[in-house]
Subunit: 248 residues, 2 copies
Amino acid sequence: MNAPCVILVRPQLAENIGKTARAMLNFALDDLRLVAPRDGWPNPDAGPAGIGADRVIAAARVFATLEEAIADLHVVYAATVRPRGMLKPVVTAAAFAQEARHATNQGSRVGVLFGPERAGLENDDVALADKVLTVPVNPECSSMNLAQAVNIAAYEWFKAGDDTPALQFMGGYQGPAPKADLLGLFQHLEAELDARSYYFPPARAATMRRNLRNIIERAALSLPEVMTLRGVIKTLAQRPVRDDDGKS
Amino acid sequence: MNAPCVILVRPQLAENIGKTARAMLNFALDDLRLVAPRDGWPNPDAGPAGIGADRVIAAARVFATLEEAIADLHVVYAATVRPRGMLKPVVTAAAFAQEARHATNQGSRVGVLFGPERAGLENDDVALADKVLTVPVNPECSSMNLAQAVNIAAYEWFKAGDDTPALQFMGGYQGPAPKADLLGLFQHLEAELDARSYYFPPARAATMRRNLRNIIERAALSLPEVMTLRGVIKTLAQRPVRDDDGKS
């Protein structure tokens, strides 16, 4: 496991360290480093940070200086939204993720620096980084919460190695029903409607039939759902066992 | 402005509502709806949520039921990580963002449901949604903080309409220096090195020169940076004004 580490530089609130740990674990990062945390470390205000994140917190390492925290790394990104008049390449979180996947696959160790809550990273911190990582953000509200910024970078890292299809079906969907069963549903519905003179005027019957078939096709029904709808049609076609005011 | 709204269904902690508002504003969303918030609304624990998010909090609307909260919408996504045995299309956060951009461009109003912190959305909530929005997440730690989940969806929405280049230069970088100036730097450096017999043995001189040129080329120096390095070379080529133990 050679995933990027997260380095919080002079973090102020232990609560944010806890939320950072949880966001990291959500996206399969577990190497958390703290440079000179303001309120000391360990700090009970950091937890409970959610199931499992306790082990990220317990394994967090504290360093006196940023130089010590990055000594074993090969590529360092500085997460900051503010240009500082320094000539440094700036990449989006998504581009960082692609680069970091490539670098770690080559055996390099990657880290991302996040600055303190109020002021962000100092110029001297950024000067130790290879590149700046910036999250595209609303220019009218560009100040992100520390844990939320970590969340985005960690999310992009995870997403870059994830193969979840953009669209899938939840639950036990086994794909659409055989067309024979779908056609059976069409015929059942159309026969019951026809018996009640639904298709009127006759000149519109073909269009009316196509419209209903299109609605049903669009739902990509599974076989159990076809059966459910046939039960609904059968029930609707029966005489009510109770009238409208509830008497049977 | 027709950006998606965020609907928190039975949220428990006002602090998470405040952090949600800030994440929304970071990514240019401002329509926040609360369905039956557990601790009532407004709630002082929600703020301060960060600069500007106060107006999202102040404009948040409270609804007694989810049905009322979604009545004016056309497309609804349910954010949940857990499949529930319901046959419903599931999209990633990135796919949601693409679809929502298209739908809102067509004039549709889009909303995303997020469930309460402990239990998430109920099946009856999910049944009111068109699709499920799922964030690809570490299967060993799949429970996301509420505000972090909103953060990811809002980020993807913003990113889908954002044209920040994947790589750029920060600060006042005006592009690389004219090659004439870069060649001047090479000649200056090589002349000073040659005067000190650096290029030895002679058979390796061409390779040594190329290696140094490649290092310098790779930095894509701006014109001011070329001038800075010429100053460094000039300084290094001078006799020290002080010796090593500080006497002048």
